[in-house]
């Protein structure tokens, strides 16, 4: 029993320990890491992917997966840019951009919960469809923008904190609250843990699952809009690989791919670890190809470690 507790504590704090380790190593290796400029740069880099990861974490905890978020980023970016360049109305452009995400999420969610077809397949299809629509609509060309107030949304900062980092923090606080303190959050865990038992308990499983995908799509579209502002253009090729990065952050943060287990704050740690690691390797002049290898190794270790602990914990019971 005592050993089991130790393993559980180890699992809880392992990610944090890894992050601290990286920070300590960087402290000794270079003095360019702990500068306000670099740290705010890291913050800016991780914040957008981290926002997508929040939605992804919720989807995975509910027992699903969403491969369409990358395409949604591109689609909402291009449509937001297009609306802005035609109307010049910032609010309208943002609203329509976000609406795209909500609609795609709703389609994903309804298809998944009504048919019971694997989320992997459904979101793979919608991803392809959305990606295609974006390319057709833009003829694969970026939509340049020239709107200074709109730029501020993604490029501005409050003292040393970039605005996207602030959006990220707010997103994390809001959804961590939802996942831990509300019934809706509790049901997401319950559905991922045991869908049949959730149905018997009277939980509206279909509605809850649908809403989770809507949130995932909404956050992806939100990210798309901020990117559009940051790059000052709608970019059809944006978002490639974002889905995998989001899954990576969630998994490093301790989210179980089979559902029912994970946390929003864990995902933040996961996203920060990936960001800090990439930044560190950059500062140390390591070729960016190696960064992929390192990320892969980190994920593998995270999963192996989790598996190792899981077997210890359950064999004791």
């Amino acid at each position: 029993m005592d050993k089991r507790k130790i393993w559980l504590i180890a699992r809880k704090y392992a990610t944090l320990a890894v992050l601290c380790l990286i920070l300590v190593v960087m402290f000794f290796l270079t003095d360019r890491f702990f500068t306000i400029k670099n740290l705010s740069n890291v913050g800016r880099q991780i914040s957008l992917n981290a926002i997508i990861s929040v939605g992804m974490t919720m989807v995975i905890i509910s027992g699903g997966i969403d491969l369409s978020v990358g395409s949604v980023v591109a689609m909402s970016s291009c449509i937001c840019a297009s609306v802005l360049s035609i109307t010049g109305n910032i609010i309208l452009a943002i609203m329509i951009g976000m609406l795209i995400g909500v609609i795609v999420g709703l389609i994903n969610g309804l298809l998944i919960s009504k048919t019971g077809i694997a989320p992997f397949i459904i979101t793979l299809s919608t991803s392809s469809i959305c990606g295609g629509i974006t390319l057709v609509y833009t003829r694969a060309r970026p939509i340049p923008l020239n709107n200074t107030p709109f730029k501020a949304i993604g490029q501005g900062s409050i003292s040393f904190l970039p605005l996207p980092t602030i959006y990220m923090l707010i997103t994390f606080i809001v959804f961590a609250f939802i996942m831990t303190k509300t019934k809706f959050g509790r049901y997401i865990y319950a559905i991922g843990g045991n869908e049949k038992a959730s149905v018997v308990a009277g939980i509206r499983v279909k509605e809850t699952k649908t809403l989770v995908y809507v949130i995932g799509g909404f956050l992806a579209a939100f990210t798309g809009v901020i990117y559009t502002s940051r790059l000052s253009s709608g970019v059809p090729s944006l978002g490639a690989g974002f889905d995998m990065q989001a899954i990576t952050a969630a998994v490093i943060g301790g989210t179980s791919m089979s559902g029912g287990r994970g946390s929003i704050w864990g995902t933040l740690l996961g996203a920060v670890i990936i960001g800090v690691l990439n930044n560190a390797l950059n500062l140390l002049n390591v070729n960016s190809y190696y960064q992929n290898i390192v990320t892969g190794v980190v994920v593998l270790f995270a999963v192996l470690f989790d598996h190792f602990i899981q077997t210890r914990v359950s064999s004791k019971s």
Binding site: K181, T182, K183, F184, R186, Y187, Y189, A190, G193, N194, K196, A197, S198, V199, V200, A201, G202, I203, R204, G260, R261, S314, S317
Partner: protein, 498 residues
Amino acid sequence: MDVLLSTDKICKSFMGNKVLNDISIDIHKGECLALVGENGAGKSTLMKIICGIYKADSGSIRVNGKIVNINRPSEAQDQGIAIIHQELNLIPNLTVAQNIFLGKEKTRGIIIDDKNLNSEAELLAMKLGVKINPDQLVSTLTVAEQQITEIVKVLSQNADIIIMDEPTASLSIEETGQLFEIINELRKSGKGIIYISHRLEEIYKVAQRICVLRDGRLVNTFITEDTQIDAIVKSMVGQSISEFYVKHTYEVGEVAIRVENLSCKKEFYDISFEVREGEVLGIAGLMGAGQTPLARCIYGLDKIDSGSIVIGEKKLKNHLPSISIANSLGLVTENRKEEGLILQMSIKENIGLSPWAPISNQKGIINKKKENDLANHSIEKYDIKANSPHQETVLLSGGNQQKVAIAKVLATNPKVVILCEPTRGVDVNGKVEIYNIMNQLLEQKKAVILISSEIPEILGMSDRIMVIYKGRIVYEAKNIDLKQEDIMAYATGGHQNG
């Protein structure tokens, strides 16, 4: 007669619970031996030992007179022992012949010789006097045809001893007849068959000898010809209903739930009953008699074909579970691990799982104090033994898991509670504690529907009893001076509408 297989004083315990005690049986060439007993009597454990799934603590198994050591299923196969499980184990997307010869396909070079397989499969089936289409996909077969495929598969492995576990559970009468003819063919060719079933009338038709197990002991072996069905039933249930049924009786109030002419195709037909406040209706029946689908339909997990459910004033039809709960109906499912609990969640989280559990404010934000109060209150009231409310339910014993599952349902404050097999896999102490919870419910004027395949439990805890057999109510009475043997006879189809 030659003895094909014999067991000698087999014993087996699970975690200190003795489930098999000195079991010695033998099976002869050309014989069908029936193995009967109530749930938990030890039939399946014994079969699992013979098949190498479990290892006996002591005792030995002889095949053709020689002591053999069976440590894993493949070794049982080598000894010519085969089992056909109640849930058939065929691969749906392969053909009949491909399934029959799975793992031992004849090849020419590296190419599988499907033609050869097909003709051999047909030949084997012919020996049994049945026709099969070896090219047909298993997914398109009826259950009976799948069973024949399994039997042919077993024959292709040169099995001499064939164990059939509840083979007729999902067969029609004609299909059952065909199965019996096949069994007779098998006997003629010198095979031995161990036939496990609850259905005594069938056993009478097919078996030459009947072994009765009770509480892990072999209590009797009967020669079918010389035995009356009553004697078998008596020896199955034993004589004493033990003391631990402690049902209290309360004054019965208004009708709380009324079910009228409820039917669900292929599961149950024309079921009507009502239950009053403070009353327990016990629904007895063998596993698969239709009582589980009945509970699921009443609660709204499965769709009803016809009939209606009335709770209080409200009529429910093809409703969702959430509507049931909103109308004060609760269901404790029979399999707590699959449908009752979220195992990796804590006791506290499970108890507060239902949307109707009083743990949050109106915006759906969980109130920690309310949540803890509910959990602590339930733990105390239902005597759940745990280190803390935060303990994961996966770590609890069966009885305590069951109490959490019940507490979860009761947290929604139902007026009508359906309990399905509430004490399955629960030890004696846990059982008594669950019966105490039932008494608490009656005291609070709740109506209880107790569905159980354990007849002593039904007799011990019900005010009225209904017996269901093959989806129909075959008997209904107040629980006064009822005999276990009678209920058992109705549940096994022994009394035809008697």
